[in-house]
Amino acid sequence: MTAESTARTPRRSSKRTSAKKSADSTKTATAAKSATAAKTAKTAAARADGPELVQLLTPEGERVEHPDYSIDLTPEELRGLYRDMVLTRRFDAEATTLQRQGELGLWASLLGQEAAQIGSGRATNPDDYVFPTYREHGVAWCRGVDPTNLLGMFRGVNHGGWDPNENNFHLYTIVIGSQTLHATGYAMGVAKDGADSAVIAYFGDGASSQGDVAESFTFAAVYNAPVVFFCQNNQWAISEPTEKQTRVPLYQRAQGFGFPGVRVDGNDVLACLAVTKAALERARTGQGPMLVEAFTYRMGAHTTSDDPTKYRRDEERELWEAKDPIQRLRTYLEKTGAADDAFFTALETESDALAKRVRDAVRNMPNPDNMAIFEHIYADGHGLVDEERAQFAAYQASFAEEGN
């Protein structure tokens, strides 16, 4: 839990938003009980009371079926998803703490979005390619990117720096939505190569307003590119609610571009896994792009620099807390006997160890050498860079000489 989540007195009333979230909450529970209703809603356009979402595990930890998406996981696989989410949340909390301690300049927490990220991340094959925003710490985890690699840019020692091709996980992209075009271009290349891999582009509800996202939908549709657009609608683009971005449910945007869209319970790791797997498989088999809207909630602040008490109510957060992605899977694991106390205890220990490893790694992360300013600007070199590098080196050296 991040520091931002501490309860405070609401500064202004927001009855409209509050009422809407309540309605969504009720509807989610209803949808889980009625697969038929879910199917009807999925095929229908926006209904007056809003769209249904694909759900396979209710907030209460009940397994439910969906007519279009199914999943059958072994207890080991279920425990694996739980472990992924717990470790990701722990890593994320540790990073937030490190920011508070001054070890990081900034951190963008994924708190609350673990299911969306682990479900979709675990749906990818090793040869698929991922284009993240700057909040996909859980997806990075699934791709095998060491969590400590993600912290360099937030500490200010690099702008990313990992090798994207090592885990087929592109660098974080900070300018909103730009990476959806890179993903689409990459997918066009996959198709040209005749490869049977797929690409997944992450973005958020705010990014859905960006021209680049619309252009990526157009290009992907026109070239039938094997790309899945995975939108984590966490309800807030910093201080702006989704209502400031769209007048239709975001998944419905896909229809206008000529490919399918589906809304999934973004706090249900099973549904996110099943839907993303299906979407990626669809892409791999030449059926083109698909939009997945993972309906979730940003439990923390936008980043450690943000103060959500200025614009949203704690009641809203509480409603979503009841839909917590980790708790519902834990309930299910305990109820079905898929995990025992020993598992949870061992995971707690592993979690502590990860946190310690992250802490140590960050505190020992060296500042880059001064000359790094001039490194890797060009692959083939550049005369001006060479000249300025030499000037800078001479300037620095002049102090050393004076010191002697």
Binding site: S178, G185, F219, I377
Partner: protein, 326 residues
């Protein structure tokens, strides 16, 4: 192979064809570059011979063109994208400046972005608004990009070959008013380095430095000045990033006077940077301040006024006279 005489647009076409033939990873992308062969016909015939998988008619979305080209480059392709006109590049400016230019550095060199962005640029073709601009300084200002502009058929052919082979993003500015000017291309020649300036005309009294469309204007000015007994050296800079300051310095140390000419506005333009750096490098060799001739701090004017806005023979000679008067 003997030298042949052909236009700049045909030389670019030949260069693209060679690149497509030599490297299966080279792709042509842009609006109308396929069946139509581009609005200037620069890609004429390539779609027919290489097919729609290699010569790609894109949706009408410049940011999308460059953004997907970045993705294709990440996948191992070498996209050569065409922006239809100079004034249409700005929807793609974010992708070029924020993504294309910086991605190699952000990955600490672990990925490369061999993308060429071809932009027909400059005025004097009587076009409507947004079809005559010279935005090169806006790109040269950005670390991570390289910017070049050929002035003749041979450079058009060879510099494009080199730009496509470069592992860095290159903005390739094509002097559209000179597209149909013919000059010699020797395809068996060993080309000069991509970013090296070339002495287009030797002289002793003053150096005119230019690139792209203004090289011809400067050569005409030098010829006119010769009739008045002035010996003018003309440097074809060929590259705006990096700039071959060594070549300019060598010339100025000989002539003592420098006038930089471009169509782009002089304020904070390529000429300003050259003036500053050459003043630093050649302070004791200069007989006169470095002068700049170029566009004004005004939106590109309606075409009926463009002859007054653009540097022509007389404005270049006026600057030559002013420099020589010191």
């Amino acid at each position: 192979m003997a030298a042949e005489k052909l236009s700049i647009s045909k030389a670019i076409n030949a260069s693209l064809r060679t690149a497509l033939e030599n490297d299966p990873k080279v792709l042509i992308m842009g609006e109308d570059v396929g069946k139509l062969g581009g609005v200037f016909r620069v890609t004429d015939g390539l779609y027919k011979d290489f097919g729609e998988d290699r010569v790609i008619d894109t949706p009408l979305a410049e940011s999308g063109i460059v953004g997907t080209a970045i993705g294709l480059a990440l996948r191992g392709y070498r996209p050569v994208v065409e922006i239809q006109f100079d004034g249409f590049v700005f929807p793609a400016y974010d992708q070029i400046v924020t993504q294309l230019a910086k991605m190699h550095a952000r990955a600490l060199g672990k990925i490369k972005l061999p993308v060429v962005v071809r932009i027909p640029y400059g005025g004097a073709i009587g076009a409507v608004e947004h079809h005559s601009e010279s935005p090169e300084a806006l790109f040269a200002h950005v670390a991570g990009l390289k910017c070049v502009s050929p002035s003749n058929a041979s450079d058009a052919y060879w510099m494009l070959q080199q730009a496509i082979q470069s592992d860095d993003p290159v903005i390739f500015f094509e002097p559209k008013r000179r597209y149909h000017d013919k000059s010699e291309l020797d395809r068996s020649a060993v080309p000069a380095a991509l970013h090296a300036a070339r002495t287009a005309r030797a002289g002793t009294d003053l150096t005119l430095a230019a690139y792209g469309p203004m090289v011809k204007t400067c050569l005409e000015a030098a010829a006119a000045a010769e009739e008045e007994g002035k010996s003018i050296e003309v440097l074809d800079l060929r590259s705006m990033s990096p700039i071959d300051f060594d070549a300019i310095q060598a010339s100025v140390e000989k002539t003592g006077r420098l006038v930089v000419v471009h169509e782009a506005p002089v304020f904070l333009g390529t000429g300003s940077e050259i003036a500053a750096r050459i003043t630093e490098r050649c302070f004791y060799h200069l007989e006169a301040p470095v002068l700049r001739v170029g566009g004004y701090h005004a939106p590109y004017p309606p075409s009926r006024l463009e002859d007054e806005y653009l540097p022509g023979l007389d404005r270049v000679l006026d600057a030559v006279d002013r420099a020589l008067a010191y």
